[in-house]
Each structure stands twice: as structure tokens, then as C-alpha cells.
């Protein structure tokens, strides 16, 4: 519906306890993300364990990536994060302006 200048890409959203932020962001770049946007949030889920308030509440990380990279990120999360950390992740599709920035 929006004009042809846009490109369809995946947005991967990860909400995680703050303690993993640094590690996670590094690994996102390694997995092929060209950037990310981080927001401080609070939340409640099934687990509710967080390391320390001194480390901050939760972070929400959003990264716009190509589908292959999205797959890689999900695999990474399943591999290293889901078991022991308070983390949720989901993916949706967005129409991005200047799609060449994201690869």
C-alpha cells in the first residue's frame, strides 16, 4: 500500500532482563544486524527473576533485519538465552524506507 520506495524486512523484538543487554547487543551485530534500538522497560511474565535492580529493569531491543538474519537471531536466542534468562522474542514484518541501510 505504501509506495515502492519501501522494502519489506523483519523486525525482531527481544524483551530481556537488563543483565544480558551488553552481551546480547554484541551478539546481534555478530549475527548480522546492522543496528538496533534499545528501550528501558518494566514487565511481568512467567518467570519474574531478575538479577538486581542496580542493573536496571528490563530492556526491549528492536532490530530491523533481513529474514535470514532474523532466523539466525532466533536460533541464537534459543541456543544461549531462553533456558536460563528471562527473555521473550517475537518477529513481525515492517516496510522500511531506505532498505539498503540494513544489510
Amino acid at each position: 500500500m505504501t509506495s515502492s520506495r519501501t522494502v519489506k524486512l523483519k523486525r525482531v523484538t527481544v524483551v530481556a532482563e537488563a543483565v544480558v543487554e551488553e552481551k546480547l547487543l554484541k551478539e546481534l551485530l555478530v549475527a548480522g544486524a546492522s543496528g538496533y534500538t534499545v528501550t528501558k522497560t518494566e514487565g511481568r511474565g512467567s518467570r519474574g527473576v531478575r538479577a538486581s535492580d542496580w542493573e536496571g529493569r528490563n530492556v526491549k531491543v528492536e532490530t530491523i533485519v533481513r529474514p535470514e538474519v532474523a532466523e539466525k537471531i532466533l536460533a541464537l536466542l534459543a541456543d544461549k538465552y531462553f533456558k536460563h534468562f528471562a527473555v521473550i522474542a517475537y518477529v513481525d514484518e515492517v516496510e522500511v524506507v531506505r532498505g539498503e541501510k540494513y544489510s
Binding site: V19, K23, R50, A51, S52, W54
Partner: protein
């Protein structure tokens, strides 16, 4: 007994209980996170600077034993906590190591409360104690992680990266940085900033304890879940560790006040440096155990009863 009551009625302890009350009556009071972080930064820098100014006034010979003793003490604590929790209470290796890391490290707020208490009862303590705190923050954590590494697939590189990470973590960094600033700028330099780093200190500590009360009491509900074993450990381990701390303080030639504080430090469990490190290095350990024990059991116990008790214990020796 009088000392316990006087301790209870000091503004900082009352502030802690006010924080507990906020949770109990379900007040909508919340500490904005930046405020909490700002207060913590202030306390660490301030205590560091004051300690640094004092540190340089001591001859090195008087410092060597206490600092070395403190180092060994905090390294030794995990050595009994780790096997003990596995054998006596059937803790998993990861959970036992995590507990060792927390009780091997120290609680800075407990330290500050001890200084306040000693001031109230009129007992002097060595001015270099903040350096002792800095030295005791890290070794226990490293030793605990080393213990579990021996029995699992972790490699040395990981342990080294944990070491540098915890050394540069904000609490250790600010404390050491404050000590350095204090030591380098000396009494005259420090005099210029006392209007900020000394005069309002006790009041800012109150504000911080108000928040600590809220944080700790939010975990009170977990106490039931973790079982009596952890509760017993959270109340008895501090007393055992305090005993060794006091004894060591005496052997290292510290004063009554200094030995009391060393006892308090040994008895206290970290809830700042240790949890952040352990959560990443031992993700399979359950924070429900180590945070509840250090924050909701040992910390309030030490604050309200432990400190006067250890002071009494120390008085027997002196």
C-alpha cells in the same frame, strides 16, 4: 540491648523499615531508577574518597596485614560455603557456588550502617576501612567461580574475563576511583568537596536505605518458597563469618572498631557486584536462592541485629 534499641531508632534503620512498610501497605511509592543509581554512585564515591584521604596517612606497615587478611578472608568464605551447601542442604553445584560468591563478597550498605553504629556508640574505627571493602568485593566471587569450574566444562579464559569484568564493574570501579581521588588530592583537596561528599552523607544514606527496604521486602514473599534450610543458612552463616572476621581483625592488629567492621564485612553478602556477575557467569543458578538469602534474609538481619551483636562479640575479645 540498649545498643540494639538505639540502633533500631537511628534514622537510617528507620528509613529501611519505612521502605519495608511501603511494600506492606502497598504504597505506590517507587524510586525512579536514575535516582537509585545516582544515590549509589554518590555513596561509593564518597566513601571511597574519605577512605583514600585517610589511607595515605597510614604507614604501609600498618596496612599490609589488614588488607592481606581481608583478601584471604573473603577468598576463604566460599571454600566452606560451597561444599557445605552441597552436602548439608543438597544444593546443586551452581546454586552452591552462587551462594559462595555472594557471601564471599560484601555489602557496602551494611558496612556503612556499621560505621554509623560505631559512631553512635562512640567507638573509633580505622580510616582505611573503605580500602578493605574494595579488596573484599571481588575475591570471593572469583574463588566461587573457580571452584565450580574445576568440576565443570568452563575454561580459564572465561574466568579471566569474569575477573576483569567484575573489577571494572561500576561498584568496584567507583569505590577504587574514589579512593584514588582521595589519596591523590589529599586533605586540602578533599576539604573543598566535603560540603557535598561528607555533610549530606548520612541523609543520603537514609534515602538509599528507604529504597533498600522496598527492594528487600519485595523479596520477603520468596522466603516461604525457598525453604527453612536457606533461611537458617542466611541467619547462621553471617554469625560464623563474623566470628572469623573479628578474630582475624584482632590478629591483624586492628582496633576494636576495625575488628567489628571486618566481622560485619565477612558476615555480609553482596547484592550488587555479585548478582550481576553470577547471573551471567552461572545462569543455571537460581537467583531465587541467592538474591533472597542475601537481600531478604542476611541483609535485614545484619542491619537490625547483626551489627550490634558482632560488636558485642568483638568486645569479648578486646
Amino acid at each position: 540491648m540498649d545498643a540494639i534499641i538505639a540502633n533500631f531508632l537511628s534514622p537510617i534503620i528507620l528509613s529501611f523499615f519505612l521502605g519495608v512498610a511501603a511494600t506492606v501497605v502497598r504504597s505506590d511509592l517507587r524510586f525512579p531508577e536514575p535516582l537509585y543509581q545516582g544515590l549509589a554512585m554518590y555513596l561509593l564515591l564518597a566513601i571511597g574518597m574519605k577512605g583514600g584521604v585517610s589511607l595515605v596517612s597510614y604507614p604501609v606497615s600498618e596496612l599490609v596485614w589488614p588488607l592481606l587478611g581481608a583478601l584471604l578472608l573473603s577468598a576463604a568464605i566460599p571454600l566452606w560455603v560451597y561444599p557445605f551447601l552441597q552436602k548439608a542442604f543438597k544444593f546443586s553445584k551452581a546454586d552452591a557456588a552462587a551462594m559462595g560468591a555472594h557471601y564471599g563478597s560484601v555489602s557496602i550498605v551494611t558496612f556503612l550502617a556499621a560505621l554509623s553504629f560505631l559512631e553512635m556508640v562512640g567507638v573509633e574505627a580505622e580510616g582505611y576501612l573503605p580500602a578493605v571493602v574494595a579488596i573484599m568485593e571481588v575475591p570471593g566471587i572469583i574463588v566461587a567461580l573457580f571452584l565450580i569450574k574445576k568440576s565443570s566444562a568452563r575454561n580459564n579464559g572465561e574466568l579471566w574475563s569474569v575477573f576483569t569484568r567484575v573489577l571494572s564493574s561500576k561498584s568496584v570501579f567507583l569505590l577504587l576511583g574514589g579512593i584514588l581521588i582521595g589519596a591523590l588530592s589529599g586533605p586540602e583537596g578533599f576539604a573543598k568537596v566535603e560540603g557535598f561528599f561528607v555533610d549530606p552523607f548520612q541523609g543520603i544514606l537514609c534515602l538509599f536505605l528507604l529504597e533498600m527496604g522496598m527492594v528487600a521486602s519485595r523479596r520477603f514473599g520468596d522466603i516461604r518458597r525457598v525453604g527453612w534450610a536457606l533461611v537458617a543458612f542466611g541467619l547462621l552463616a553471617p554469625i560464623v563469618n563474623a566470628f572469623w572476621g573479628i578474630l582475624l581483625g584482632m590478629l591483624c592488629g586492628m582496633s576494636l572498631g576495625g575488628a567489628t567492621v571486618l566481622g560485619v564485612l565477612a558476615s555480609s553478602a553482596s547484592y550488587i557486584a555479585a548478582p550481576a556477575t553470577v547471573r551471567l557467569a552461572l545462569p543455571e543458578a537460581n537467583p531465587g536462592y541467592y538474591l533472597t538469602a542475601s537481600l531478604a534474609i542476611t541483609f535485614p538481619f545484619n542491619l537490625a541485629l547483626g551489627i550490634p551483636l558482632y560488636h558485642m562479640m568483638a568486645s569479648w575479645f578486646y
